[in-house]
Every structure is written in C-alpha cells, then in structure tokens.
C-alpha cells in the first residue's frame, strides 16, 4: 500500500492515449475475521456480517504485477527545466519510468466498511459447490449469482448496483464439503447501510431473483421473460454483463446464477437431477446439451449416444456424458447415476463427463482437455 504517489516533478508531456487499458475494476479482497455465523431460517444459507470489515482493492496490473524498485531520484538531469527537482531518497519508481526492476508488486487500497458473506449451509445431495469444480464453471455460477443478487437488490432499492461491491470468493467448509462465500461490501468507507439492509432482507431479495412477479417489469422478471430465455444462452447486457464486471464476462451465466440462488433458498433443490427441468433456467437444458453435444462431435469421429436420459457420446474406447456443471461427478445421484449406470451397463466402460458450461464457451479447449486425459 503506497503512502503517497507523485509525478516525476517535471512539467510533463501530453498524455498518451489508451497506452494501458485495464478491463473492469481491480479485484476486491476481503480480510477474513472470526464472526458469528447466522443461519437464515427457512432457507439453505448462512451469513456472516461485519460492520468493520477490512476490504482491499488490489491492482495487480492484470496479473502482470508492477516492476520497479527503490532508488534515489532524480537521475542526473538532462533538461534545464529539471534542475529544480530536489534529490529524494527511498523512492519506489516503476521500471517503466527509469527505476530498477528488482521488485514485483501489486498495489493495495484498503478501507473499513460493512461486509456480508453468504454461503450455503448444506450442499444438496448430488451437487458440488466447490468453486474449483467443473473447470471454472462453479466459480462462474457463484460469481454470476453474486452479480444477479447485486442487480436485483439495486433494482429493488432503485440504487446504483455499484453501491455494493463483490469481493473475491473465499473457501469454507459446510457439512464436510467445500463451498465458497459470496462476499458483498459497501462501496463507501465506513459503510452506507446497503449491505446491512441486504442482510436483513436477504430471503426476499433472493426470492425476487428467482421468483419475480410475472409481468412486473422488474430486473428479475426481464431475465426470466420468454424473450430473454430464448435469446440469451449464457449472459448479455440485458442480464448480467456491465462494464465494471468485464473481467468476469466469460464466466457469467444467468441460468447457473438462478440455479445457485435456488440452492441458497432450498437445500432440496437438485438442479434437474430429480428429472425436474420445469424451472425457467432449466427448461430445455437437455435439448441444449444435446445440441452442444452434436455440434462438438460433428468434427470428430464419435458416436452419438443417449445414456438413459442424458446425451453423451462414445469415442473409440471412451464414453462421455454431458452434464450440468453443478452436478457432483464423484458421487453421481438421480438421473446422472442412472445415466452412468446405463453407460457402464451397455459398454462396460466407466464414463467421463463434459459439462455444458465449457462445451458452450470453449469447445476447442474441451477437446484439448479430453486429449490430455487420454494421453
């Protein structure tokens, strides 16, 4: 955390245009402190609220870090105009501006404000909510639900969504399984009361997110409208994408966001594993999965298969099932267990899995991953 910044003390030059573009806002890290965990009754979520949470905005230069080091300034003057610049000791100068390059740092800006953490109390049987699961897909679901809650909340209070900020995910254990905290904090230092209000009205905000009054024209109603449902396969500017979350655009998925919110409300929600695909975000999931499968195998020599009720394919001596990224693949349950059993029964081969999140976004990468495993 720098104590201060300064210019190079010269008269300066015209600013270069767009010479360094940082997409979206730098990440927000919230210090973890021991706080009382409160279960929200009638739901599947627990919260921790802190009125003096320590929040850090970290600028790591897009992951590249800043190179530089301590030195004395200025170097010997080259212009007559710089002769008035005083000699200064212990100056941390970026190597881009003539400093040494013996250190790599990120910049941090801390503040104390109100912080709310939300996490599932219990992982429903058959699901996996560890944010490292499904190659980024669960992480995507959790961030998407955080942005969804942020937007729904802002829509209810008619405030700028940026009044509350979303921090990096933090891992914790719930009922013996790993889950992640969604972290909200007030943008204003010392708190503006929004996050506290969100905590007090969390159930109704989440209910509005997945069960809005039809035809009300609210933000959630628009997301769940037929037009959006048909036109948006993952995320768009009408639902979750805004400038400030640009760095998350690749991860955002409104369907997964709503599924995750339903899990926070109900520990019996199965995300289709019980064969119930009637929820708006799941309507047509099997058809989409089949379409993605067909498109994926078109270029490869694979055999289309239907394993019980789930689409899949057979590639020489390997068998695949297309799955929802929130499903637990270590201990399949419900229709996934039936599908795995069908694949084993018919082929004698343990099936592998490929999820719709990655099939939709990066089929080439999926193919590479499958090749890696086979080697």
């Amino acid at each position: 955390m720098p104590k201060a910044f300064r210019t190079d003390l010269s008269f300066g030059a015209n600013a270069k245009e767009d010479d360094s573009v940082l997409q979206g806002s730098p990440s927000l890290v919230v210090e973890s402190k021991d706080t009382l965990v409160e279960e929200i009754s009638g739901t599947n979520m627990s919260v921790c609220f802190l009125d003096n949470g320590r929040v850090w905005r970290i600028n790591d230069n897009g992951g590249l870090l800043f190179k530089g080091g301590e030195c004395q300034t200025p170097p010997p003057p080259t212009s007559v105009k710089t002769k008035v610049i005083p000699t200064l000791e212990n100056q941390w100068i970026s190597s881009e501006y003539g400093g040494p390059s013996n250190e790599e740092i990120a910049l941090g800006a801390p503040k104390t404000t109100e912080v709310l953490r939300i996490f599932p109390t219990k992982v429903p049987i058959g699901l996996e909510l560890n944010h490292h699961h499904s190659k980024e897909a669960v992480r995507g679901a959790i961030f998407s639900s955080a942005f969804l809650i942020q937007r729904v909340f802002a829509s209810i209070l008619d405030i700028d969504p940026d009044e509350i900020e979303i921090g990096n995910l933090a891992q914790r254990e719930a009922g013996g399984k790993n889950v992640a905290d969604i972290v909200f904090s007030d943008r204003l230092a010392n708190g503006s009361g929004f996050v506290k209000y969100l905590k007090e009205h969390l159930t109704s905000v989440l209910t509005e997110a997945c069960l809005p009054v039809v035809g009300s024209g609210s933000y959630a109603d628009i997301i769940l409208s037929q037009a959006h449902l048909k036109g948006c396969p993952s995320s768009c500017v009408d639902c979750l994408r805004v400038f400030r979350n640009m760095s998350y655009h690749g991860l955002l998925d409104w369907r997964l966001a709503i599924s995750y919110v339903r899990i926070l409300l109900n520990n019996e929600h199965k995300v289709g594993l019980d064969g119930d695909f009637s929820y708006p975000e799941l309507v047509g999931w099997r058809e989409t999965a089949t379409m993605l499968r067909d498109s994926f195998i078109k270029t490869f020599n694979c055999e289309q298969r239907l394993w019980d009720t789930l689409p899949g394919f057979k590639a020489s001596s390997r068998v695949f099932i297309v799955v929802n990224p929130l499903w637990d693949l270590e201990n399949p349950y419900g229709i996934l267990a039936d599908s795995v059993a069908a694949a084993i029964y018919e082929t004698g081969i343990e099936p592998e899995f490929i999820d719709t999140f990655n099939l939709l976004r990066r089929p080439g990468w999926c193919h590479q991953e499958l090749s890696k495993v086979s080697r």
Partner: protein, 353 residues
Amino acid sequence: MMRHIIPQLPIMPLQRVSPSRFTAMKLCSLQEVWASKCDPLLPIFPEARLGSVIHKMLELSAKGLMDIEQFDDHWMVQIEKVEMKIAQIWQEEQFVPLSTSVKNYYVKRALCYKVANNILRKMLYSRQRSGRVNPELRVNSPDGYITGIIDLIRKDNDGVQIVDYKTGLYMSTDRTVKQEYQDQLKMYAALYFTQCGIWANRLTIIGLNQVELDIPFTPSECIDVLNSAKQLIDSINAKIHAGCTQESLANPTPESCKHCCFRPACALYWLYRDNTMIWPTDIRGKIIHQQLLGNGLAKVIVQDRLSEMSVRRLSPARHTFLNEDINQVILCNLKREKSLNSFVESQFTTGFI
C-alpha cells in the same frame, strides 16, 4: 475405553473354509485362523457392506423372490438391515448411512437394478427354453472343511454353467480375472463335481457391468486347487494342534497385511513393517505430546522405534482414549500428509491402546 483394548485372540483349528478365502489363507494362515473365530479389529470397508446388499438383491432375483417393481422396497429393507448391523460395530458406526459413505452408491444401486432385471428376464427366457436356473447352491467337500455357496447354476442342452457375481473390481492389472477369483471358481467346479457328479462346462464371472467373463479350466486343474486348499488347511490345523504360536502362522507382507483386519494384534506385523508407503498407514508408539486444537480435534506426536510422527484431526469422540492419560497407542488406517511423518485421521482410522 474397553473397546479400544486389543483382546487376546485365540488360535484354534480351522473347521470350515470358504473357497473365496483360499487366496487370503495362502497369503497368511494367521489371518484366516483369526477370521474364522473372531470379530475384525479394523472396519470392513462400507463398499464391501454394500456389496453384500447387492449380492442379496441378486440372490432374491435369481430365486424369483422379487419382482422388479419391488426393487426399491427390497433395497431399502436390505440397506436398513446392514446399516443397523454396522451401527452396532464401533469401528464402523461412522459409515451409516451407506449412501454418503460409499462412493458411487447411487450408480451401484442403478446397476444392481439393471442386473436384477436382466436376471429375471433371463430366468423367464430360460424357462421358456426349458432350461433350468438354480440360484444359491451350497457345495461342500466330503470332509466338510471346504464349503461355499455358488451364486447361480445355469443348465441347458449345452451343459452346466457356474456363475459368480462380483460387485467390486475383479480384473487384475494385466487385464485378466484376478487369480483369487479364478481359484475360487475352479474350487466351486471341483466341489460341484464331488457333490453332483457332473463337471461344469463353463465357469463365468459376471460383474455389475454385465460383462460375462469365462475362466478357462480343466477338471484336473480344479481338483489340484481343491486338493491344495485341503492340504493347506490340514497343515495349519496340524501346527495348531501341536501348540504353535501366532508367529509361526503369520506371514506379514505388504500384500497380505493390506486388507487384514487383524493386523493390530499381529506381533510379527509390527516387527516387520516400516514406515514406507508399501505398508498400511499404521503407527504404534509412545505418545510424547498431545494437544486439543481449537477446532475440537486432537493432535498427537507419537514416537515409534524409528521416528517421531505427528497425527492431526483425531476426533476425541471416536477415539475416547484421547481423553485419558495414556502412554502407548496404535492408530491404524491413517491418511498420509505431504510432509514426512505427518498423518491425519481418515474415516477408517481405528485406535487402540
């Protein structure tokens, strides 16, 4: 506390051995001697418990005692029976319910359904072809020392087929049926011949994936395996009658001890083993430090004859002796951590003092 004390295990002659135990008996006689008379000291894997339920379900199907529509009801009854049993066993009570402790529980259940359905359909087909299916036939050697139950006998115009269902892994790394299962089926064939006077023409293993694998055999091979089993039983019993000690029956090797549920009581096991990865992850020694950590779990430092070892995440509720002033401890089925000589509790960990 009492349950954490290793009892004195008796050494008594073998009265009856199952063909499925022959390979284990060849590896270590002591293990079989204790298994024939004593309760296991270490937990039986919940996968094996579920395997017994699946076997029972297939038996019910093969005996025609179940319609496929009744599958769910029968499954629940069998699972409840097993869960009630293991809830009474202190080493295994943490495995209830099996649906959460057995990996792929629901897949195995779905596979069991498919196999049971297939058995019922085949039985119907076989009846239509005037063939015969005999489930669960007990076969004994004339002296009664070797006795087993054949899962299924299929008889048709081609001859007799002896079938054994396997619910776990039955292939070895070289992609052949494991030798112990080959020997088991060959012994069944010899026992069937002894009892019924007919040689089977096929010995078949069927897995839950419905793959049927025939084991090649000749009658003389089958007789040889049966005879060698008899000779082994005779030699073990002769040693026991002569008053041998456990050391003369034990054969501690990483392979024979890996699945042995009696190794905490085996003196030679503790003498032969070392702390390398090839041996089971057990420790025995003196507690030199014990600490209750902030998460309510305990950490102990144990000094054995070779080194100091740290064990974390021990549950004082499961290992009640941790609340007492104890000196020596045995901890079996631990999980290794990355750093050397560091371990944590696993769901199979069992402690003795």
